[in-house]
């Protein structure tokens, strides 16, 4: 899956621009190599400690440019392979950086890049420049003295007085080489960058297994709690009401002939009992799967949430027909929770919801004009959303500076039905 990924069709001219940038940028790598090497030596004198940590981060940032570029060329995401670094002091950070194999691959890349990256960029530039040069050369030679630009190819002599147009032969060759070679070199180089700078297949799989194991445990736990809640609600609510209803009706049956007045009272009671049972069932159903979501999908669901919210909610939703039902449901409850939170705690008067489906992923943004400063604790509703989303590999991100605004973004990978 990783190696056969289709490459994007990238125009040759943008590639030319990249070559130009990379000739300079890859040389910048030399500076980093030197700085890193020197500060590593200085580690003996402890002054090297902050330097090594600092330059390690700089190298990560430097290489991020190649990750983005390779991802763009290969039309996929080149994932940053770094392990999370601890928040602690410099020594523990250095340990973590030193123990991370990605650090060494980063460093190796600097070397490869200085040689290979520079070479590829220069060759590509030179071929293109050569083509241009020979193409305009027949015009150019008119301004120089005879013999200066003469060219000898075996027995053939090209000079300004005789067969100037022959200069277009090397121009064509150079242009042809550039045309044929530059995309191949650049795509190959992007592949190399992705392999060296991306996450290794093994590491990716082991991370994935960890993530799946924890998300499965949470999903199972959430589901079980949900089922217990439903069971309890049915048992204490609707079931009890139906028993009472049966009793009232049974008594009314008995009373009908000898005491119609009491029978009537009992019947009224029975009818009220059905209303209560129905409204309890309605609430229960709404909690499991809101009917409007089945009817209208996520688009209608979000519209209904907006209408029901005490805030003025702007809705901007553009989605394909229907998304898989579990994804719709997870996203709906997430938006519902976020809007409820905004109405309860943020002091906002207005909010907005934006939902799109791009590149195999549902993305929902919910913002409000409240005072911000949302804190995410492990007991809060937002954490509940995150757990619910994690079952689908979904993620939630909160941006809520003090003073607002709060924007919560949700990403859920899925393909439309």
């Amino acid at each position: 899956m990783m190696t056969t990924a289709a490459t994007r069709r990238v125009g040759r001219l943008p590639l030319l621009g990249w070559s130009f940038i990379f000739t300079v940028y890859s040389l910048l790598g030399i500076a980093l190599i030197i700085l890193m090497t020197v500060s590593s030596l200085l580690l003996v004198l402890t002054v090297g400690l902050p330097l090594v940590v600092g330059f390690a981060y700089s190298i990560r940032g430097y290489n991020d440019v190649y990750r983005l570029w390779a991802g763009h060329i290969l039309d996929r995401t080149v994932i940053r392979p770094y392990r999370p670094t601890p928040k602690g002091n410099l020594v523990s950070r250095l340990r973590a950086i030193g123990a991370d194999p990605a650090t060494y691959r980063d460093y190796a890349w600097l070397w490869v890049n200085v040689v290979l990256g520079f070479a590829i960029s220069i060759v590509s530039l030179a071929l293109f420049a050569g083509a241009i040069f020979y193409f305009i050369k027949p015009g150019l030679v008119q301004f120089v003295p005879d013999g200066v630009f003469d060219m000898y190819i075996g027995p053939v002599t090209i000079s300004r007085t005789e067969n100037t147009m022959l200069y277009w032969v090397p121009a064509l060759i150079s242009f042809g080489l550039w045309w044929w070679l530059s995309p191949k070199m650049m795509v190959g180089y992007a592949r190399l960058a992705a392999v060296m700078l991306g996450i290794s297949e093994r590491a990716r799989l082991s991370q994935r297994v960890d993530a799946l194991a924890s998300s499965r445990a949470e999903t199972v736990g959430t589901q079980a709690a949900e089922l217990r809640r439903i069971e309890r609600d049915l048992h204490d609510g609707a079931q009890a009401r139906l028993v009472a209803l049966g009793m009232s009706l049974g008594m009314a049956e008995e009373m009908l002939s000898n005491n119609p007045a009491v029978a009537q009272e009992l019947l009224t009671e029975a009818r009220q009992s059905t209303s209560l049972a129905l409204s309890e069932l309605r609430d229960l159903v709404r909690g499991i799967h809101p009917p409007v979501l089945s009817d209208r999908g996520l688009t209608g669901g979000i519209q209904a949430l907006a209408i029901g919210s005490p805030l003025q909610v702007q809705v901007d939703v553009s989605l394909p027909e229907r998304l898989p039902a579990p994804v719709e449901s997870a996203a709906y409850f997430a938006v519902a929770e976020v809007l409820t939170n905004a109405a309860k705690h943020s002091g906002a008067t207005e909010a907005w919801v934006r939902a799109r489906h791009v590149r195999g992923s549902l993305s929902v943004l919910v913002g409000d004009d409240g005072r911000g400063g949302v804190v995410q604790d492990t007991a809060g509703g937002l954490h509940g959303i995150e757990r619910r989303l994690s079952a689908f590999d979904g993620t939630m991100h909160i941006s809520s500076p003090a003073g607002g605004p709060t924007i919560i973004s949700i990403e859920l990978p899925c393909v439309p039905e």
Partner: protein, 212 residues
């Protein structure tokens, strides 16, 4: 009074036919899916339609869509929608053509037979019958422009939206009919509805309410 009934559950359909017949309605056709409902409404042009929201073939909001489409083809066709749950979104859609004669009630309300039949008659006469639950949801949320109304005026507007007459509102709130009239006039002016011959201001007040 001629009724077209759209309800897919046999038990409920038979029950409703029995109920309506007992109260001297004539059920000209009872159908169990959206497309037949639309056809039945357009061919019979009944005095009132009683329609379930969720019906085959999609089991989503088929009935509601059929009713809205029928009202588009036959403007002003009185429709009473019944549903297992109330959704403000649907209430708005139903009223969006601003042409009176609509109702949206929870199915539970059928059990209060007297009130239910009264609601059908009201809708058939061009009035409204909104479920108290829709009204209470609305009151619980959007404050503007209803924020300008006094609590008493809101109560009156709520009952008006359910479709009750001034007499009924007066007896329900234990106030004089005159007082109700005063409240309704205040409501109309606060919602910016000038007196006019053509419009049913009560319906327009309810719509303003739903649009809030």
């Amino acid at each position: 009074m001629r009724v077209v009934l759209g309800e897919d559950l046999v038990l409920l359909r038979e029950g409703l036919i029995r109920l309506l017949t007992a109260y001297d309605f004539e059920v000209v056709e009872a159908v169990d899916n959206g497309p037949s409902l639309l056809r039945a409404l357009v061919t019979h042009r009944p005095d009132v339609a009683v329609v379930d929201v969720r019906m085959p073939p999609t089991f989503t909001d088929e009935g509601l869509r059929a009713a809205i489409e029928a009202r588009r083809q036959l403007p002003g066709l009185p429709v009473l929608v019944l549903s297992q749950y109330v959704e403000q979104l649907y209430a708005r859609e139903l009223m969006s053509d601003r042409n009176g004669g609509v109702g949206y009630l929870l199915k539970d309300r059928v059990s209060q037979v007297g009130q239910f039949v009264e609601a059908i008659r009201r809708v058939a006469g061009g009035g409204t019958a909104m479920d108290p639950e829709v009204i209470s949801q609305l009151l619980a949320t959007k404050p503007e422009p209803l924020g300008r109304l006094t609590p008493r005026e809101r109560e009156v507007l709520g009952l008006m939206a359910e479709g009750r007459s001034n007499v009924a509102i007066a007896s329900r709130l234990f106030i004089s009919e005159n007082a109700v009239g005063k409240h309704t006039n205040n409501i109309f002016s606060k919602l910016g509805l000038p007196p006019s011959e053509d419009d049913n201001r009560r319906v327009r007040a309810v719509i303003a309410y739903l649009d809030a």
